[in-house]
Symmetry: C2
Subunit: 281 residues, 2 copies
């Protein structure tokens, strides 16, 4: 029995083909862990503790910084394909033969790519706030991010208030609660993503979303069961992309929440945790 | 404490403006009951005990035959508007000031109509296998029903095997389990719906689905929280209608299940019961 939580789990390092990758691991023992694939700008400290610890009550959870991100070494690549190779190399270095993947936003692109390039490694997929290659509006992410950062500065708010939550008072309140939860960890914090990393990620997302790139991942080739989740009004990866994933994947469940955006999984963390538990059981 | 279940609840009669309506009532005590609005051809014996008793573990459940259906008296009207008036009259006769409504298929049309004509009566809406007025493909229901009955006769299967479940072996197996559950009640059974009732219902559904009828219910006027549920391949009320409900309702959660059709709520009854409990809490 362990009392380690997302708050207390130490940041660990592992050698991945000569590069040091940072990760944290915690939760109930389970043969197959749930591995989280992070979003644009994110580090280990950007996952909602309500989601992490909710899920970790029933299974082992692994979060990690992909190449060039946070405390991981190396240079962040500018393509989803390379990010998926790096993620697979990390999982191989950890000695994991099969995992469940939880891909959020950019991490959802990486998850789709891994599901087709390393099918034996991936048992199930959770795809939150994400969309298919060539999906509607995905390439606009650079402009959306810049605008949110400018609004955040002007209004004294965190950019995620605009990027992850709806403008309604209820969604904005949920956003404040989310940001408070994120700030609870005080020690052994990760290093923020560098500008170079963010620029490479934006380039990778723009390329993923390019209409000419629609064949990068053949969704019809993904046989793993998938749980697709989003808010009803996502301005980063428009909600229509979640519907498209549901319609094109062979075995997908779709859940869309009201009064919410890209961060619906954080706004509705109790419901989301319950869904994840049932889906992975 | 009561040990009454969907299997043992007696069929009761109540006078509704001079007409006798049949109903059953059971479940845990709760101030606000969940009232089920039935589908085309259905009587009291067509609700899945797995759903009824799953929901009834936490709240009072009421199922009833609308006018002209099963053991209820009177003549089934041929419009959703009239069915909604009859349902409201039943709820008034029962002395209920506020209810949660669970509308399945045709019952979902009635639920939408009630939500706008009697807003104070309706706290929350569960809309399964249903769609908006004027919705895609809804008017074809007569032909779909006839074809399924012919296939059922030819193949020695219940028409619901085709109407409610996908052709996959897994969905068909779930359909058999559903039919077995329905057959568990042996006593105090309801009277099957008459041909006149079914014809009136088909006419009402065709009129509801007519593109010229798209304004019968203004979805933007529905303020009640709604849970919208369906399978990924519904041939009775095409799944696109569930997406349309989600997009047009002010406060809706959407959940679509894989490998399933119109009867997804029966195929995934444990998941569905859990969702209903959380949504209504």
């Amino acid at each position: 029995m362990t009392t380690t939580t997302s708050q207390t789990a130490a940041t660990q390092l592992i050698d991945v083909q000569g590069t040091s990758f940072a990760y944290r691991e915690f939760g109930a023992p389970s043969t197959i862990p749930l591995v989280f694939l992070h979003h644009l700008t994110a580090t280990l400290d950007d996952w909602d503790p309500a989601v992490l610890d909710g899920v970790a009550a029933k299974r082992r959870v692994i979060i990690f910084d992909n190449r060039g991100v946070g405390r991981s070494g190396g240079v962040t690549p500018d393509s989803v394909a390379a990010m998926a190779r790096d993620a697979a190399a990390f999982l191989d270095a950890k000695g994991l033969k099969q995992v469940d993947l939880f891909g959020y936003s950019l991490g959802g692109f990486v998850a789709q790519r891994l599901a087709v390039t390393r099918p034996a490694l991936v048992r199930r997929l959770i795809l939150a706030g994400t969309g298919p290659a060539g999906g509607e509006g995905i390439s606009n992410v650079g402009a959306t991010l810049t605008e949110a950062m400018q609004k955040g500065t002007a209004q004294g708010k965190h950019p995620k208030s605009f990027l992850f939550f709806s403008p309604t008072s209820s969604s904005q309140r949920a956003g404040q609660e989310f940001l408070t939860r994120l700030a609870a960890r005080k020690q052994d914090l990760d290093t923020p993503a560098s500008n170079e990393t963010i620029q490479a990620q934006v380039k990778a997302i723009a390329a993923w979303g390019s209409p000419s790139n629609a064949r990068e991942v053949d969704l019809g080739a993904i046989q793993q069961p998938a749980l697709v989740v989003n808010g009803n009004h996502d301005i980063m990866v428009p909600t229509s992309n979640s519907i498209a994933l549901f319609e094109k994947l062979a075995n997908a469940q779709l859940c869309l929440y009201p009064d919410s955006g890209h961060g619906a999984l954080f706004q509705y963390s109790p419901e989301f945790v319950e869904q994840v538990a049932r889906f992975l059981d």
